[in-house]
Amino acid sequence: MFTYILRRIFIFIPVLIGITIINFFIINLAPGSPIDMYLDPNATAESIEAEEEALGLNDPLYVQYFRWLGLILQGDLGYSMSSFEPVSQLIGERIMPTVTLGITSIVVALIIAIPMGVISAVKQNSKFDYFVTGFSFLGISIPNFFLGLALIYIFAVNLNLLPTGGMTTLGGDAGLWVRTLHIILPTIVLATAIAGRKVRYVRASMLDVLNQDYLRTARAKGVHEFWVTNKHALRNALIPIITIVGLEIPLLFGGAIITEQIFQWPGIGQLTLQSILSRDYPTIMAINLIAAVVVLFCNLLTDILYSIADPRIKYN
């Protein structure tokens, strides 16, 4: 197993380098020179030329790439073109709201998806099973912005039970209760999609396990059906869930953009959209890179955890 993990890390490095290259070249496809954003409109062609030379914009692309990579490795993500703050600071301010919302949504989704999936597998082809299938399809098919708007329309506008957006009430107190009220609707939006995707995996994985011989043995030696399902079967059925949670991370980033936009949630998703709309390339580049690296790390971690959790996997 140790060599397996080493091999995974060995593959991870060239992919990481590839990601930095793709990221760099995507941004360099952008029309215009980054200098256009800073320049005085009265600047002469010579002074622009001199400035470009000084900033190294006339160097070949690969030289620029290595210079950029060098800065990234030192933790220097550059400065935002719209607010002129360091990008690392901007991201630092926005990371916690997104992480909080993401973790809450995954936890809520699993609390819904695991029991639903398990019950619908145990009671295969029952009414509940069909209901779960229906729920799952709705969850994966409903556009998150439509669900978000509908929830605001129902719970915030008409019933006046929950706030329409934000993390806390402006100028009001920021206690736990107020924060909880604010996180409910965005969590429902993200968790619906995650639960919709997970529930069928849990069901399929549970069905697989339920047909195995060792469960028949357990029943034969008189283990109560409750324990057969919830202890013997569930333990093995839940192993694939590790992978599935790992695979959620990239989708969560995407979902966060629209969800944070609708609910005015001050996280990375909102920052991403703002920087895209204002063509703030250093910020876009940094977010894109960090997101990809996080995803890659999660994939690596998932593979390693999986290999620890399921000793039946062969490493070759």
């Binding site: 995507i26 399809f137 605001i152 995407g254 953009i257 629209i258 977010i287 997101a291 995803v295």
Partner: protein, 300 residues
């Protein structure tokens, strides 16, 4: 008997046998699919949308960009679903937007399935360092969070119908490349492929005539789910203002205005129909995908 004779007899008898066998398989698959009621309903709805998309100019009561009278009028006898802020007929815009979604959906799937299938085929067939390189490139494309990287690239190349299809396809092919690679790896081990290689058939012939037909099931299933995903993603892009640009109506950009609380709360006819259309379409296509998955699954 000469060697070429043996080969002719072999190949003619095998094609005859193949034809009968594939006809049977085809009927079996159709039969299984028809048992899945929701999938059949989904297919009917999808075909209905296709017909609408083709017939757009003949069935819209108004032009989608024409100002028809009252601004933000609720549904009435002239404008069945009401009008938007600029006085354009919602029903006409909804119908026209169907065409956009159909073009984006099928366009994206056609591009990425073709590209991903070729990559997967080559990767698995050649193996070795070709496989290693291609799979690492696939990993790289998969590492970027889908929505984030799509927004970034669309903002750089500019939002238009062709560019959106291109960008969606650019980041959708890895899943199918991996899928095809997986099926080809297992098919490659089968005796009939070894036979084809020893008979000296050309590589393209083996790849496209012997291997690919046996991997079509998963490809069709993946493509169907991909169709739903492309329509959903495009609507998200349009909603954020980074999709097909107004005045061209899309279901997504018809919901953009609902970000203002006054539209959201007092003019639900502006955004509910478009939202429901996306939901129903994506749901229908996903049901078709589920039906196809069951139909192609030999275990069922």
């Amino acid at each position: 008997m000469s060697e070429s004779n043996i080969q002719t007899i072999k190949s003619s008898s095998s094609t005859m046998f193949d034809d009968i066998k594939s006809q049977n398989q085809f009927r079996q698959i159709i039969g299984k699919f028809m048992k899945h009621k929701l999938a059949v309903a989904g297919l009917i709805f999808t075909l209905f949308l296709l017909v609408i998309a083709v017939l757009v100019p003949f069935i819209t009561p108004y032009s989608p960009t024409e100002v028809t009278g009252n601004f933000a009028a609720p549904p009435n006898s002239e404008n069945w679903l009401g009008t938007d802020q600029l006085g354009r007929d919602i029903l006409s815009r909804l119908i026209y937007a169907t065409r956009i979604s159909v073009i984006v959906g099928f366009g994206t799937v056609a591009v990425y399935v073709t590209f991903g299938t070729i990559i997967g085929l080559l990767s698995a067939y050649y193996g070795g360092w070709v496989d290693m390189m291609m799979m690492r490139i696939t990993d790289m494309f998969m590492a970027f969070p889908f929505m984030v990287v799509i927004l970034v690239v669309v903002s750089i190349v500019g939002p238009s119908l062709p560019s959106i299809i291109f960008v969606l396809a650019l980041f959708s092919w890895p899943s199918i490349a991996r899928l095809v690679r997986g099926s080809v790896l297992s098919i490659k081990q089968s005796d009939y492929i070894k036979a084809a290689v020893s008979l000296g058939y050309s590589t393209p012939r083996i790849l496209f005539k012997h291997i690919l037909p046996n991997a079509t099931g998963p490809i069709i299933v993946n493509g169907t789910f991909g169709l739903a995903a492309a329509i959903l993603t495009e609507s998200g892009l349009s909603f954020l203002g980074m999709g097909v640009q107004p005045p061209t109506p899309t279901w997504g950009n018809m919901l953009t205005e609902a970000q203002s609380i006054s539209v959201l709360s007092s003019q639900p006819w502006l955004w509910v129909p478009a939202g429901l259309m996306i939901l129903l379409t994506v749901l229908a296509v996903n049901f078709v995908g589920d039906g196809l998955r069951d139909a192609f699954d030999p275990k069922q």
